[in-house]
Structures are given as C-alpha cells and as structure tokens.
C-alpha cells in the first residue's frame, strides 16, 4: 500500500514540475524584439514638426481615446494621484490621449512589480522612477524606450545638467516631471524669538544650533523610522567635506573608510553627541511636523515636497515656515545642495508607444511641464515654464541656487547603485543609534560596496 502512495505522489510532483519549467524560463525573448521596435518608433515620431498643442484630436484614431497607464508609488503621502489625473485630463483634451495613473502603496512592491512587468506585454506605458543608477539598471536590460529626439527638440528649455542626467551613452530616456531641492526648513517664529537669522556659514550654523539647544529646543530632526531617511544627513556631511568626494564615493572611486569620508562622519557624530538631533525614534512625517509646529524642534532637512504635503498638511501655518540652504562644514567645499530629479519613463514594450511619445512631447514642453508643478507647488524642470505659483520660500531657494552658483549634487538614493544604497541605509541607521561604532560601520559599508563594485566594473 505504502509503495503505491509514494509512486503516485512522485507522479503528481513530476507533473507539477513539468508544468512549472516552461513557464519559469521564458521572458528574455520579448525584450530583444522590443528593443528593435523601439528605435524604429522613436524615429517615426520625430517627423511631425507640429508642437503637441497644435495636434488636434482628429489626428489620432477617429474619436477613440487612447489610454495610457502611468504607474507610480506616490499614492499615499505625498499623494500625486490627483495631479497625474489632471495631467491626464489635459492630454485627453489636447491630444485625445488619456493618462490613467495607478498608485501603489509601497515602494518595494511597486519596484518589483514594475520590473517584473517591463519585459512582458503588460509593461506599463509610463511609470515614475528614480534617476541615474536606478534608471541605468533598466536601460542595461533594454527595457526603456528612448526619447532622445524629444530631448533634442526641447534642448533649449532645459539646463545641461538635467539633460545629462537623463542621458546614458548618448541616448536619452523618459522625461522629468518635477524636481526637488533639499533645503533646511526652519521655524520662523522660534528663530525670531531667539533673534536668530539664517546662517550663512558653518560657524553661524553651529551657533544657531547652540542657541536652540540652550533654550530647550532640539536643533534638528533625524529618524531611523521608515528606513530610507537615514541618508539625508549622510549626504549633507559628506558633500560638506568636499562635493567631489561625495561623487567619488557614490561611484565607487573612494572607499567609505577613506579618512576624508570618516571626517565627514565624525562631524555628524559630534553633532549627535552634542544632542543636536532628536531621538531617532520619531517619525519624520507624523511626529516631526508636529514637533516643528510646537516649537520643540527648530529645523528639518527635507525635500521641497515636504513643505506642502507634510508641513502644511499637518496644519503648520505657511508663514511659520522658512528655508535656507545648509552651509558646508568646510569652506573649501563651497556651496552645495542636493537635487532630487523625478523622471517618468516609457517602457520599451509599451503597447501604445506612439501615444506615449506624443504625450511625453507635450509634457516636456513649457505648458505641459507646468501642470504637475503648479498643482504640487513644486519646481518644474522646463526653464520656460512660469514659476508664479511657487510659494515665496521655494522661489527664494531656487533663485539662491541659481544666483550663488551652488553645486547641484544628485541624491544618494539615485546617485549610487541600488544594491549598495538599500543596505547602506540600514548601516546609517545603525550609526545613528550607535555613533560610537563608527569604525565598524565604515568597514561594513566597504564590504557592501566592494561586493557590488567587484562584480560590476
């Protein structure tokens, strides 16, 4: 009796395995054919010279509205879903092409789902992503559609730095729908009460911290909650040593245990030891704005998106919020600020490639690029779009960056390869909670970085 059971079980399992083998293996074939199609498609759309605004609905399929999917992970807070829907409505009006945004609640599942979908016929037409290294891994697998012609067409409307960020080996991909600087937000009331003004150099900055601390106010917010925010201060203190050092570190040309890198960490450590940071157990998005409003914390370093969707949404009055750019700890490092570029990319396997490119053309133009920015009150990327809708505090930051020739550096999340970043943020968390283990942390970071760079020269 027993033998029969064993035989039957094995047969059933064998059938199951046979089933699974063909299904498991076959996705790579679709990508090579798709890549061939992409270059052809990109060339044909370069032909029509008319700007997107002049294209009437009649030019697209008779009366039928083409629907494009736009996948994003910004469905919670900040919630960009309504803004994307606005963009979609505008393109429907002007081009007969509707964008249907699909929000994902968490970034990890969003990333895996998009990556799993890209090689298949269910690839999203458009999707939000992150620049530099995070884009590169998709480009290396031929999963993105080129937009080189479009960037050529709009090249007078964008800064060179931005164009370069979207270009890899001479080819450009996707487009930029918003960008965010990372200034230091401060509580104007608290500053006024203590007679503090925006610090222009490191010494003034330290003085501000000291004054705040001696008046019972925690100078800056910092957290290990939610995993990713731990790199916020990291990038500040490394670029504050030397912006070139920061770039080299991100690109693997310098080790984490390099004395100059260590010096940056030690500045961070000294500020932690002096109690200039909040307890890292606070939540950057619910506790921090609360503490900011109550005058318990004086400054928060965050992207310019923090203004609307976190501070103002939490009820902080707009006239209480000021911003300045944090000075570098070394004078020789000059003036630096972190920029976060937000691309929307087009899949190579998109079923509606033409429509996607048409829509991209419009959204790259001055009018199109403004839609999202004006709703989110954020910076548009197109230099010719208007900035009237920006709150004063944001206008000030943008003009300071331009007028005083700040070095613009890419955010760590994108500037360094993803596998390194994902593990590094956990190490930074460890550092924040146990700053005395600095040497071990640096050597662990080296191990993580070496693992990647040795396999990916």
């Amino acid at each position: 009796m027993k033998r029969k059971w064993i035989i039957i079980t094995t047969i059933i399992m064998a059938i199951a395995i046979l089933f699974s083998l063909p299904l498991a293996g076959c996705k790579t074939t679709t990508t090579t054919t798709a890549a061939a199609e992409t270059t052809a498609a990109a060339e044909t759309t370069a032909a029509p010279e008319t700007t997107a605004a002049e294209t009437t609905a009649a030019e697209t399929t008779k009366g039928e509205v083409v629907k494009l999917s736009l996948l994003h992970d910004k469905g919670g807070n900040p919630n960009f879903q309504p803004y994307f829907e606005e963009m979609g409505k505008k393109t429907e009006e002007l081009l007969g092409i509707k964008i249907e945004p699909v929000p994902y609640p968490t970034t990890d599942v969003f990333m895996s789902t998009v990556k799993a979908a890209l090689p298949t016929k269910d690839a999203p037409d458009l999707f939000t992503w992150w620049s530099t290294y995070r884009m590169k891994e998709l480009i290396d697998q031929n999963l993105l559609a080129e937009t080189t012609e479009l960037w050529q067409k709009h090249k007078d409307e964008y800064s060179k730095g931005l164009i370069d960020a979207f270009t890899f080996n001479g080819k450009s991909y996707g487009f930029s729908y918003t960008q965010e600087f990372w200034p230091m937000w401060y509580n104007k009331d608290v500053f006024a009460k203590l007679n503090l003004s925006e610090p222009k150099n490191w010494d003034e900055f330290i003085k501000v911290c000291e004054t705040l601390k001696s008046n019972g106010i925690t100078p800056m917010a910092q957290t290990v909650q939610a995993r990713w925010p731990t790199f916020i201060m990291f990038e500040q203190f490394i670029m504050g040593e030397d912006p070139q050092l920061y770039n080299d570190l991100c690109n693997g040309k310098v080790k984490y245990s390099d004395p100059k890198v260590k010096a940056g960490f030690e500045v961070w450590k000294s500020l932690i030891d002096k109690g200039y940071f909040t307890d890292p157990g606070i939540d950057y998005f619910t506790d921090a704005p609360n503490m900011f409003n109550n005058g318990k914390v004086g400054m928060i370093l965050a992207g310019t998106w923090y203004y609307q969707s976190v501070l103002v949404a939490a009820g902080v009055p707009e006239d209480k919020i000021g911003a300045f750019i944090m000075p570098s700890q070394k004078e020789s490092a000059g003036k630096n600020i972190i920029l976060e570029m937000s691309p929307i990319l087009i899949s190579a396997n998109s079923k509606n490639l033409d429509a996607a490119l048409k829509v991209t053309d419009y959204l790259m133009g001055p009018e199109g690029n403004e839609i999202f920015a004006s709703l989110n009150k954020s910076y548009q990327s197109n230099m010719k779009s208007s900035t009237d809708f920006l709150p004063d505090v944001k206008k000030k930051i943008a003009s300071t960056v331009k007028d005083e020739n700040y070095n613009i550096l890419n955010r760590y999340w994108e500037a360094t390869p993803t596998p390194i970043c994902e593990e590094a943020v956990d190490k930074f968390a460890e550092f924040i909670q146990k700053p005395n283990t600095l040497d071990k942390i640096l050597s662990d970071l080296d191990t993580i970085a070496d693992k990647y760079w040795s396999a990916n020269k």
Partner: protein, 275 residues
C-alpha cells in the same frame, strides 16, 4: 467559587478588557477630529466637532475607498462561496467515498496552509501574466479560493469524520446515490463548519494585502486593504483620515463576526458533542 476569587476574576477581566479597548478608543477619537485639531491638540482634548463625516468624505474622494470596497466585497462573497462548495465536496468525498490515495490527496491540498504566502507571489504573477488573468476580478477570485480551500478542507473533513456511519448506511439502504447523500444528508448538517469556514476565510480574503498589491493594478480589480495601506504611503499620513479609513474598512468583518457568532460557537459545540 469563593466571593473573593470571583471579584478578583472580574477585576482582572475588566482591566484586560480596558487594555484591549484602548486602541479602539484611540482610533475613534482620532477619526472624530479634524486634521488641524488633531495636530494642534493633545490626546486628551475631546473633539471640537464631530468631523468624522468630513474625514470620511475626504477619504472616499482622495483614495476612492468605495471602489475598492466593492471589489473586496465581491471577492469575499464569491471566493467564500466557491471555497465552501469545493471544500465541502472534497471533504465529503475524502471521508465517505474514500477514493484511493485518499490521504495523499488530503495532504497535498492541506499543504497549502503550511507555506508562507509570499512564496507564491512572483510565480503567480508570472503565470497570471501569461494566461491573461493579471489584474482581473476572475483571477483574484480564483487565487483567493485556492488559498482558502486547504484550511476549509481541513475543517470540513474534521467535521464529516464525526458524522455517524449509521446515517450513511441508512441512506444507502434507502437507495441514495452519492449526490443525494451529499446534498440531503451531509450538506444540511454542515451549518457549523460552514459558519467557521465563512467567518475565517471571508475575513481573510477581505483583509488580504499582498496578493491584492502584486496581482492587480487598476481600481478595476484592486481590493480594499491595498488602498488603506496607500493612505499612509511613502511620506507618512494624515491621521484622522487614515483612522476613518481604518474604521470604514474594518466594519464589514466586524459585522460578519457579529452575525455569524451564534452559529459559529453553537456549531462548534455541536460538532464537539458529536464526538
């Protein structure tokens, strides 16, 4: 029981009950306040006005909770029905009709409860893509049924084992075929395990997050917990809205529990007594 022991028991129970209710109190309080008041007042202040309706409207407007609510309702009900039918039929067959390889078949199906669900995610995603079930209501219903059947089979089988053989023999003497045996004898008695299965599995389907996140894309097929999770996304959240969402999306399962409670408990008692 001694009086002192009785009082002590009551005191302990009441303390525990209070501790258990504390979170409920917290969410109701948060849901009643407006976001402005929530951020600017301490926990102990009572809400100025009952803002729950506005919060609710915001939650629906911004996150379209009602669409997803409907989807989950369809999944829970349809998935539940399919599970009940498939599992009770299979349980009946395993116990009464006793096909060969009885035990192996049971184990194969039951093994579905032993593996962590995440391991099914990526393979299922690929399979669904290939057969076109991705982001469809049908796909979700099938997946949910498949996930619920193992435990339900376990329950039905355990229950059917307790039905006395005499009843079956009597029915056979009367000339029943298997289908009549199933529908006229086994099913009517199955109220108890069905209540258990319905309660546990429909609640499980309603509360699912992972499969909904990975196997659907649009509002067409997305279940409600995914939208609840997205209310506090990458950058934190506005607590009064979130708590309103929590209340709204938790009500169905709580109501289900209240409705089925009587059948559930008395049903299990009956099945135990039948031993």
């Amino acid at each position: 029981m001694g009086i002192i022991k009785k009082i002590l028991t009551y005191i302990i129970l009441i303390l525990l009950a209070l501790a258990w209710l504390l979170p409920v109190f917290a969410i109701i309080q948060a849901a009643l306040k407006t976001p402005e008041q929530f951020n600017n007042s301490s926990f102990f202040e009572f809400p100025n006005k009952v803002a729950i309706v506005e919060n609710f409207k915001m939650a629906i407007q911004r996150w379209k909770l009602h669409e997803f609510f409907l989807n989950s309702l369809i999944y829970a009900v349809t998935g539940g029905i399919i599970t009940i039918i498939a599992a009770s039929m299979a349980g009946f067959s395993l116990v009464r009709l006793k096909p060969r390889f009885n035990f192996i078949l049971f184990l194969i199906i039951y093994s579905g409860t032993l593996f962590p669900f995440q391991m099914y995610l990526i393979p299922l995603y690929k399979i669904f893509n290939q057969v076109g079930l991705y982001d469809t209501k049908i796909g979700m219903i099938l997946v949910y049924s498949a996930l619920c059947i193992p435990f339900s089979l376990f329950v039905y089988r355990g229950f059917y084992v307790t039905i006395p053989k005499e009843i079956e023999d009597a029915a056979m003497i009367d000339g029943c075929n298997s289908f009549q045996l199933y529908t006229k004898i086994f099913l009517p008695q199955s109220l108890a395990p069905t209540a258990v299965v319905a309660l546990f599995q429909m609640t499980w389907i309603w509360n699912d997050l992972l499969f909904g996140m990975v196997l659907t894309r649009t509002g067409n097929a997305r279940p409600v917990m995914v939208s609840l999770a997205s209310m506090s996304g990458v950058g934190g959240g506005i607590i009064p809205y979130i708590m309103t969402g929590v209340i709204f999306t938790s009500l169905p399962t709580i109501i289900l529990f209240i409705l089925l409670r009587k059948y559930f408990i008395s049903g299990m008692v009956l099945s135990m007594a039948g031993e």
